[in-house]
């Protein structure tokens, strides 16, 4: 640890702690503030990078992740179809290390918010002045099983799951059925499941399996993102091949027999069952602990945060970004869970932490955005754009309900085309580099 306070000195000062804590840290040669970042996906990598880039030696940043590199969900549907290799979506941490980020391989077992320490599976305890949690999602098991994602993959966390689904898609023969689910909102990457249905159907078409079918069981009443592009794709491009079933609440999943029961019908013994379960914030403590290790969770299982700092109410030095957090927003205009948005939130969070260390208030002139490209066929794509500005937010009938990130613009591509398909790779390259390089 770079901290110069030893334990005895700390105890001597402990009585003064409440007075000291309100002073800015940046006076003279203060030791660097210790920031621990949990989770090395788009949110965690970006916050670590920008803390070092903007904060320099004022911050000692440790990034904790169990894996040696991050495998991006972005573009992973194209790994499922064989269009891209895993290398294209595997993102290492060496550039972050060159920026002075300490990358610590490990799994978080528990967080002691009182003493400000993170305990790892190997027994290491990391002390923090600020903690940024970006752990992503966990899956909520179906009401009834037996469910085993190693038999029926979700492929909603990229890696071995992606390759397992690729293998199962490759085993499809004519007249076989590929059944997939769309989780109840909010879930990671709103357009992602519909995109997957399209590229899977495109794959089957190109393999001349023209009597194979893709069944999309949506837990929601309608398509959750890019409704124009996906309605056109389901009704025209893949007419007769993709069957879209809304309001399909999953009741039971049997991975062994590849069968699923829903409120909109049952499908049994299908060739590939791509059950993507409902989601919640990933645990940061033992599953037996209160709130799975979180100080607070909302009814949907995500962590409510302050939109200016991504701090948890009552825990001003604990921040949550990315898919795990719930940002206050206007009704029906939720902030989407995506890698691009996690990157956006990470920069707001990094800026707020550095201002706090300087004794300043958080900036209120802040925006976040999400932009993404979705392949519709093997040569065409669509895009989705959403912008959020800090300010007043409203309930369902337009009544002011407080402050948050208000969605000021939303829209999808006027048409799907080949230029968008090429732009998709430029977009991903930019996002990968801004987060990990």
């Amino acid at each position: 640890m770079m901290h110069t306070f030893n334990r005895r000195r700390f105890l001597q000062l402990a009585g003064m702690a409440s007075a000291i804590s309100v002073l800015p840290r940046a006076f003279g040669a203060a030791p660097p503030a210790r920031v621990v970042v949990v989770g090395g996906g788009f949110g965690g990598a970006t916050v670590a990078k920008y803390l070092r880039m903007w904060g320099g030696d004022k911050v000692a940043v440790t990034l904790v992740d169990p894996n040696p590199s991050h495998i991006a969900c972005i573009l992973s549907n194209l790994v499922v179809t064989g269009a891209l290799s895993m290398d294209r979506i595997t993102l290492g941490y060496s550039a972050l290390e060159k920026r002075g980020v300490k990358v610590q391989k490990g799994r978080v077992m528990a967080i002691n918010y009182g003493s400000g320490t993170v305990s790892l599976s190997d027994g290491t305890a990391l002390a923090y002045d600020h903690l940024v949690l970006s752990p992503g999602i966990d899956f909520i098991p179906p009401p009834e099983g037996p469910w085993d994602p190693n038999v029926t993959p979700h492929a909603w966390q990229a890696g071995p799951q992606t390759l397992l689904l690729k293998q199962q898609l490759a085993s499809m023969r004519d007249r076989d059925t590929f059944v997939m689910t769309v989780p109840k909102s909010p879930y990671r990457c709103p357009p992602g499941p519909y995109e997957r249905a399209c590229v899977v159907a495109d794959y089957l078409k190109r393999k001349k399996l023209i009597f194979a079918k893709v069944v999309v069981l949506d837990a929601n009443p309608s398509i959750q993102a890019e409704p124009l592009a996906f309605t056109e794709a389901f009704n025209f491009i893949y007419k007769g091949m993709i069957e879209y079933v809304p309001n399909a609440t999953v009741l039971a999943v049997n991975s062994q027999t590849r069968s699923i029961q829903t409120s909109a019908g049952d499908w049994s013994n299908v060739r590939a069952l791509n059950y993507i379960p409902n989601q919640r914030a990933a645990a940061v403590g033992p599953s037996s602990s209160l709130n799975r290790g979180w100080p607070v969770l909302n009814a949907q299982g995500f962590v409510p945060v302050d939109p200016l700092t991504y701090g948890i109410s009552g825990y001003p030095n604990v921040h949550v970004i990315g898919d795990a957090c719930a940002v206050p927003a206007s009704e029906g205009k939720a902030v989407p869970k995506s890698g691009h948005m996690a990157n956006a939130e990470a920069k707001i969070c990094a800026d707020a932490i550095l201002r706090s260390l300087n004794g300043e208030s958080p900036d209120k002139n802040i925006t976040t955005n999400s932009a993404c490209f979705s392949p519709i066929t093997s040569t065409t794509a669509s895009w989705l754009s959403a912008n959020f500005n800090y300010g007043d937010i409203y309930d369902g009938v337009g009544k002011l309900k407080g402050k948050g990130m208000h969605r000021v613009d939303l829209g999808e591509a006027p048409r799907t085309n080949g230029d968008n398909y090429q732009d998709m790779f430029t977009w991903a390259e930019g996002l990968f580099a801004d987060s990990f390089a």
Binding site: K347, N387, A433
Partner: protein, 107 residues
């Protein structure tokens, strides 16, 4: 944007703002966190990789381009993204990116 909406801090020359940022206590340069939201697609500080229409442009060119995209009918994704910012935010972003992109460095 009417002159009445410009707050005095927009009138601080960028060079001065950058010089001030060298001090330990200085607030971040104006526009830094707003402009960081462009980096997902245009690279850190607009220096790529990604869509490369940022680096090398002057503040006035960037501002003019963004305002034009904001007001024309939507064709490309930037026509939507530009709609997400107030004219005052666009000015701050343009000033910041003009001062920080094109250097080949990202900080």
């Amino acid at each position: 944007m009417s002159l009445k909406t410009i707050s005095p801090r927009f009138l601080i020359p960028v060079g001065l703002a950058l010089a001030a940022s060298q001090g330990a206590q200085a607030a971040p340069p104006a526009g830094q966190v707003l402009a960081s939201q462009c980096a997902q697609c245009h690279g850190t500080n607009g220096n790529g990789p990604g869509f490369d229409e940022v680096a090398g442009k002057s503040a006035s060119e960037l501002q003019k381009d963004l305002l034009e995209m904001k007001r024309r009918p939507v064709e490309g994704i930037m026509d939507r993204q530009a709609r997400g910012y107030t004219d005052a935010q666009i000015k701050l972003i343009a000033d910041y990116l003009a001062a920080h992109s094109g250097s080949g460095h990202d900080n």
